[in-house]
């Protein structure tokens, strides 16, 4: 399968100016490469930088050194050195990211939150909402909730809205941060199915899973942070 993500010589440290300028090193020369159709689990003890790695790939954290190259519209783009508007373009088309918690926006209904990545790509609103509703219903969100802002949803419902949003646009690279953490057994199964389908569709997945059994079911190999 084709490589779609190449991380080389990645270094990252945080300097906390408000706390005496202490520096916390996180990565010192990480190298990895990931192909389409595979799912890679990021593993390691708590606080070792599993979520940080996803944030670095998405460009939310700025790498101190190294390159994070993604396959974008047929060519390689380095997230670390790309201009902000280029990173936004790459996010729109090539990298999706399901965060641990949904960022709720007041007044915006659940179906709209899910459809947004599709609308940003210029998809027709009816079509985007169709796909959004399909995913919400697959993830067991009742139809009467689709028109409501997830503000008042339970933690599990919010997380399922978040997952639906992540899978809506069928990104070539998909980053998942504990996608099953706050879900019951049935919904966990549904998410694992979505992951398997996305892989079949050619997506490359980089995921953090708390649960070892789920990790083994969803992923084909590991990047171990020790």
């Amino acid at each position: 399968m084709d490589t779609v993500l190449r991380i080389s010589g990645l270094q990252k440290s945080f300097t906390l100016h408000q706390q005496g300028g202490v520096t916390i090193p996180v990565f010192n020369g990480l190298t990895a490469s990931i192909s389409s159709g595979e799912a890679v689990a990021v593993t390691g003890p708590s606080g070792r930088g599993k979520s940080s790695l996803l944030k670095l790939v998405y460009g939310t954290y700025r790498a101190s050194h190294g390159a994070i190259e993604v396959r974008h519209e047929g060519s390689w783009k380095d997230i670390v050195s790309s201009a902000p508007h280029e990173v936004l373009e790459i996010r729109k088309k090539s990298i999706g990211y399901v965060t641990q918690f949904l960022r709720v926006i007041p007044r915006v209904p659940a179906e709209m939150i899910v459809a947004e990545p599709l609308l940003e790509r210029g998809m027709d609103e009816d079509k985007a909402l169709d796909r959004a509703r399909g995913l919400l219903s697959r993830l067991g969100i009742q139809e009467r909730l689709w028109h409501l802002s997830p503000m008042t949803f339970s933690g599990g419902e919010q997380q399922r809205v978040n997952i639906a949003r992540g899978f809506a646009a069928q990104f070539p690279i998909l980053l998942l941060d504990e996608p099953t953490a706050s879900l019951d057994a049935q919904n966990r199964e549904r998410v694992l199915d979505l992951i398997a389908e996305a892989r079949k569709g050619g997506s490359a997945i980089v995921a953090v899973f708390h649960d070892a059994a789920e990790r083994q079911r969803a992923c084909s190999r590991e990047i171990s942070l020790t």
């Binding site: 300097t15 408000q18 700025r62 508007h85 007041p106 915006v108 609308l119």
Partner: protein, 256 residues
């Protein structure tokens, strides 16, 4: 595609006092840039320089016109600059009274911008005005009311309609939700987000509220004492702030 707006070395001094200095950046079509910082950091001065309301002491602002020509703001004739401000640009003031004509009806406030660009057919102007009032969620029966009879939130939505009716490509906003109740603020933010996406608007939004910046913008510029101390994608600046002042700003936000 070349940037829509580009600022090179913008500075503004008032005698010996510095408003802002040495500011350069590029803004592309459809991008929303938030300028954040505390009061007195030079945000509004910069916005006014960029939008042609005041002339910078040094530096250049250039803009890509609809026909593709890239023109420097200071090289334009007064008439060209006025036309640009009335058609391709919008400016949303914090105080809606500054951006509206309070002496005429809500409908006329919207229709007037169209007339300024040559619309003459009354029926069409009225229809466009009503359409825009509906898009900013102002009920049709309020179209003939004076803005004096509107609430603060409605006035702000009216001001937005007035600015967007000419289908500008770039909108400048100075604390667009400042001074509004939080519930009204949420509605306005949602409205602005929707319009920005549907119309592929570029916007430069000055705000001291990081939550507003997070909701509206894709990029952020942090100002302190007249200078830009940090720039980046909005999530980058908020989640991985580099400068000591930005770290202080981000860590000072109260959690609800």
């Amino acid at each position: 595609m070349s940037p829509l707006l580009s600022a090179q070395g913008i500075g503004k001094t008032y005698g010996t006092r510095t408003g802002c200095r040495d500011i350069s950046f590029e803004l592309h079509a459809g991008e929303v840039l938030a300028i954040v910082g505390e009061s007195g950091s030079g945000k509004t001065t910069l916005l006014r320089c960029l939008s042609g309301h005041i002339e910078p002491t040094v530096g250049r602002v250039s803009y890509r016109m609809r026909d593709g020509r890239v023109l420097c703001l200071t090289d334009m004739s007064e008439a060209e600059r006025r036309l640009l401000m009335r058609t391709d640009w919008g400016f949303v003031h914090q105080d809606a009274r500054e951006g509206l004509r309070m002496g005429v009806s809500a409908g006329a406030n919207v229709g007037e911008r169209l007339m300024a660009v040559g619309a003459r057919h009354y029926g069409n102007i009225r229809a466009a005005a009503e359409d825009w009032l509906a898009r900013v969620e102002i009920p049709g029966e309020r179209v003939d009311d004076s803005p004096w009879a509107y609430s603060g939130g409605m006035r702000q939505r009216l001001q937005i309609a007035r600015n967007l009716v000419t289908e500008p490509r770039l909108v400048f906003m100075d604390e667009p939700t400042g001074g509004l109740d939080v519930s009204v603020q949420a509605r306005l933010l949602d409205l602005i987000r929707g319009l920005v996406r549907r119309l592929n608007l570029a916007a430069i939004v000055v705000t001291h509220d990081l939550a507003v910046a997070r909701l509206l913008s894709s990029r952020m510029m942090v100002m302190q004492q007249g200078q830009v101390i940090e720039t980046g994608l909005t999530d980058q600046v908020l989640e991985d702030p580099q400068a000591p002042y930005t770290q202080l700003l981000v860590s000072s936000v109260l959690q609800v």
